[in-house]
Symmetry: D3
Subunit: 143 residues, 6 copies
């Protein structure tokens, strides 16, 4: 698999990280309370501006409490959205990563099964609604 | 738009529903506590076996309490999954329908904005992880 | 909607078609046995080389008999694949067009319902298999 | 790859299956005429209710004859839809599984090539129709 | 369509924008050199933090020159990526918006046709490569 | 992985290629200036007509200069579209192949990072625009 990795960008090692990359790496470990830098961030680090931009967005939405922001969704629900989107897109790295995160947050395997079942269900009904060219229901406006 | 509807199947009117279709229609209204049959179900009703099968799955997963089943996710979280999947697939009927349902369940517009922001974020990171051919992190097994 | 059309390319009118475009237009009507040029081809005609290239591929795969080629799939099965792919992608123009073509070829509305139900089912199981990170079964090789 | 499996759910062994799971497992082997339980079902089995629900839908749509139902599509056509959807979604487990099933049903490798070529073609035309914002053709309604 | 809009969030009017929203709105008009606020930003404005976050990312990647950053891609190429992604996802608002932007930047309709043709082509080959389960080529590593 | 390959079609060896397949193989090596036949083409070669059709389209769009055609996009931009589409669809073979091709054409790793960042961005905004059901902006028609 070495050749496929070579085709894109090398992983940035934590030991070699300096400046902005080192700062973001430290923030990732502190915020996520993990003791390694996941591959995803090590690849993005080859482009420090991109690393920072993606991390700022992800931190703001997935770890708002770390900066004193509040979220209207609890942490497990936020990971559930990540899993539902990643299963729909079939992104194996992301499914692996967010499934792990959700279990770590206390989501049980049974609840994870429910998340995937519901995600599967709506992939089915999406195809049905599009395939049947169903038009939106007319409803009284909310409020 | 008449010609596009005509191309597929006609909507089954509630007044014309008999037998199994009438039963499912009644169960939909009772379970969802609505006083009309959404277009989606009226289209599926042209094939009664399909209507029943999709309804059984959806009822079991989205309205388990109606049959005395328990869910490990609360009703709003279940609608959030529906919205995340439908936004990812771009299914306009489904987005419209499940956004309405989520608001009706008490999800605020601000929280809905958060759901969509997180769904958007993971559509971005999914493309990045796939585009960079990132391989799963090696981690100690859970448990 | 005028502004959205204007944003891309105008439709080429059949009366204004000359040269290669006129030839392809005539071949489309003859091959598909229709008396109008669908919007899809009228848009592609703004780029004659692209029109020809897409038409050659589509004619070869969907109307092989027209040029004396044989297909191992019957015409309705070929339209069924078009519908399954288009429902999965949520392409409304394509769903509309290929649903009409399938019904014209004699596929009943009930059979169309079955096609969509099966397409829906596999959109569900695709999300489940990806979401659960299921690995391929080990099986003895075929033959 | 052990760590990725660990992240989600373990496979249920056939020997350890009891109650509803054992019943569904037996029905899968009998209905599909295979002598092992594919990974997909072994993963779903960690949630017996979900296993049963997905199996009921899949059996009803893909193996209707087993319960005395009739289908308007022949078995190979049903597998062709599964392949077209799975190739569109890029679900590798599903492509692997349904390609095997189709070949076992007698679909030749040449015909399989045609299925994939047509699925590829419509993924192309879907992007073109959406990209050009083509609007549905106006046609006289069917019937 | 009023009811579908009502189901999600109302558009924020430019006249009613205050604080951070007014600032971002002004920056959007200045940076994009347009004299109206596109619907996309008016919807996001119902959640000011989200508006700002999406705008910062989009400005950084699509209008880097505005803040003295440099890009290795020219503006038209950046819009071409937007079009290719949006056509692949079938997002009609985005296709409409970025097609307009590309034409305004001087991309000819003929070149736009080429962009869409190439995007279509790779949607086809993606389905073929996935459908045939093709494994990566073994190549000597770059560099 | 032998069993998964066996499930679909075997790779055609260059040494065994005859007739049309040998001709296309030679043209691929000459046109792409490579000294091996990528797996993708070796799989398609099991169906010579399909091999030829896909190659003709790909050569026309990606290597137009080889046949004296002109393109309005430079070769690197054409590969950028391939990468953006393949990252969106998550097609690992295609991402690997086109990333390699783009780097070979001189696209720097930093520029590649920008391509993926922009592709990621629009996967995010596509989901947001669809999720918020945003309607196209009304604009004066171009020209």
């Amino acid at each position: 698999m070495a050749e496929s990795r070579a085709a894109t960008v090398p992983l940035v090692d934590e030991e070699n990280a300096t400046g902005k990359v080192a700062e973001v790496f430290a923030d990732i470990k502190r915020t996520k309370q993990i003791d390694f830098i996941p591959h995803f961030w090590r690849v993005l680090a080859t482009n420090p501006a991109q690393l920072e931009m993606v991390w700022i967005s992800l931190k703001r939405l997935m770890h708002p409490e770390a900066d004193g922001h509040r979220s209207l969704l609890d942490p497990a629900t936020r990971e559930i959205i990540a899993i539902a989107v990643s299963a729909t897109n079939g992104c194996s790295y992301c499914i692996n990563s967010h499934t792990t995160a959700a279990l770590k947050l206390g989501l049980s395997r049974e609840a994870l099964g429910e998340v995937l079942a519901i995600a599967g269900l709506f992939n089915m009904t999406n195809a049905l609604a599009d395939g049947y060219q169903v038009e939106p229901d007319v409803r009284p406006p909310l409020e």
